[in-house]
């Protein structure tokens, strides 16, 4: 077992994997990486199973010293990572020596960077997952964001080092989108045609109050056609709910499991990772597509993620 010493935690750094599904009946949402695509690729680059736990940094990265030699990869948003002061390439597996420090700076584009380590970050699983659920203080590293001086354990490495990198073509096609594709929500027909056009015909800005629970948007208000009584029901990841203010909120990875606001639309599965890269004040647009198209896009994305061409050695 090796450890990683947190020299600087960054703005908000948590342990995340692909989350815990199946605990909705207890009110526990899946949580997991905000940009699951970047996490999965990072894990592949260091020879881990796709869903191994890694560090997720937000807007400002941290600095981490490795007590033993390790193989790492930085993926997600570009926070200008460096290794003992020398710029370090992203989307590439890198061998580091005992005592070296990996340092991340400020986000240059996107909101979340991942530090994947061969062997994965080792924390006691909660309901089968290493993901941190911040609101309830459960999972991850003591149920909280990392602090200076924390020592985080790294699991045993099980494979030989083989230098590999993400193919430039794959990187391009997985680039986070600023036009987010949506399908109809369960209450789409509670909104007038003009409201639905407002959602898909205008730019919205992400509010500073956004977090892993929800992405709050600011833009032209979306009125409900008539006030109807909504009975609290289960809500889906990526649901775009419209509270009485008319300013939509996208439910994100650490979402509430049920909610009482009508949902006008839902972000498609293939675009969820793009949401994880939205910074405060970013401008996005929505494009409505059919369910069959959403499905085809996901199948295409998963085929790319599973392909041999994804990673170059």
């Amino acid at each position: 077992m090796s450890t990683l010493l947190v020299e600087a935690p960054g703005l908000f750094t948590t342990v995340q994997d692909l989350g815990r599904d199946g605990f909705g009946p207890m009110g526990v949402s899946a949580s997991g990486a905000a940009d699951a695509v970047s996490l999965r690729i990072g894990n592949r680059l260091v020879g881990n199973p796709e869903g191994a736990a890694a560090l997720e940094m937000t807007l400002v990265g941290g600095a981490f010293t490795f007590e033993r030699a390790a193989v790492i990869a930085a993926t997600g948003a570009d926070f200008g990572p460096s290794l003992d002061g020398v710029a370090m390439p992203m989307w590439t597996s890198i061998e580091i020596r005992e005592g070296e420090t990996v340092r991340f700076g400020h986000s240059r584009s996107g909101a979340r960077a991942y530090l994947c380590v061969q062997g994965g970050i080792a924390v006691e699983p909660f309901l089968g997952s290493a993901s941190t659920h911040v609101l309830s203080g459960l999972g991850g590293f003591e149920g909280r964001a990392l602090r200076k001086g924390d020592r985080v354990e790294v699991g045993a490495a099980n494979s030989l080092f083989r230098k590999s990198a993400l193919s430039p073509k794959a990187l391009e096609s997985l680039e986070p989108r600023k036009v987010i594709r949506v399908t109809d929500g369960p209450q789409s027909d509670w909104f007038a045609e003009s409201s639905r056009k407002t959602l898909c015909g205008n730019a919205f800005r992400t509010s500073e109050q956004s977090n892993r629970m929800g992405i709050r948007l600011e833009g032209p208000p979306i009125p409900l056609e008539a006030s109807r009584e909504m009975i609290t029901e289960g809500v889906s990841l990526g649901a775009i709910q419209v509270p009485p203010s008319g300013q939509p909120i996208i439910l994100f990875v650490e979402q509430q499991t049920t909610g009482g606001y009508p949902k006008i639309a839902n972000v498609i599965s293939a675009d969820l990772h793009s949401l994880g890269q939205l910074r405060p004040r970013d401008e996005i647009r929505f494009e409505r597509i059919e369910m069959s198209e959403a499905r085809a896009l996901l199948i295409q994305q998963e085929a790319l993620l599973a392909s041999k061409e994804l990673i170059q050695e």
Partner: protein, 232 residues
């Protein structure tokens, strides 16, 4: 459009990886029982490719792996489950008592709630702790139970401005609902007391003190008992 007949479940795609099944159109014990029955059946005999279940008052959201299932396939696989609901028995509900220290610093809104209804604080406590409640579902946050059965006389409108931080264990009333905050979260309910008992413990089995379908009552305790229970 959904129809109102309870015997005919209605389906809606919620996203490209989830389907909503509506088993009624209102908050009613009968609808709750149908949701609970469907949930139990799907837990006992899981459908391949289903990843998560989100029960609520009169509906169940089913999350699935979109690479293995689609809405139509899932809907047709649900038919035999739905056809069993009417004859499916439910076990007798568990009975859970939650000790509450009402009023004082733990129930800062007790006197407001009393004033709102022209009662004394003691009458509010008496009414709140003599009713029997049903856990319709757990939702919103881990271990947060949506309880039905609040006496109408206690229904109280939510705070104009929600508190940024409601202490863990707080017992509140919001509209015609009452419940306990398992974690310190923001909240707009009026706080009438606090329980010293943990509502969600990762070392307990089950982790959540309350489970869907449970019958719940609140028992007024003294400050001394509150401390004895480990309350702070």
């Amino acid at each position: 459009m959904r129809k109102s007949t309870a015997s005919e479940p209605q389906f809606r795609a919620a996203s490209d990886q989830s389907l909503l099944v509506y088993l009624g159109e209102e908050i009613a014990l009968e609808n709750h029982r149908r949701v609970l029955k469907l949930l139990r059946l799907l837990q006992a005999e899981p459908i391949d490719g289903v990843r998560n279940l989100h029960p609520a008052y009169s509906s169940l959201l089913i999350k699935f792996d979109p690479l293995r299932l689609d809405h139509d396939k899932l809907q047709s696989r649900l038919v035999p489950y739905l056809s069993r609901l009417d004859r499916e028995p439910l076990p007798a509900p568990r009975e859970v008592e939650i000790p509450v220290f009402y009023g004082g610093e733990f129930g800062p809104d007790l006197s407001d709630v009393a004033k709102m209804h022209g009662m004394t604080g003691a009458q509010v406590i008496e009414l709140h702790s003599s009713a029997t409640y049903v856990v319709y579902f757990l939702g919103f946050a881990p271990g947060f139970a949506y309880l039905g059965g609040l006496p109408e006389a206690l229904a109280s409108r939510r705070l104009e401005t929600p508190r940024a931080k409601v202490p863990q264990g707080s017992v509140g009333i919001g509209g015609n609902q009452t419940g306990v905050y398992p974690f310190s979260t923001p909240g707009g309910w009026r706080l009438i007391g606090r329980t010293p008992v943990a509502m969600f413990r990762r070392t307990a089995n089950p982790m959540s003190l309350l489970q869907i379908g449970d019958q719940v009552c609140f028992r007024a305790i003294s400050e001394k008992e509150f401390v004895e229970f480990g309350g702070r």
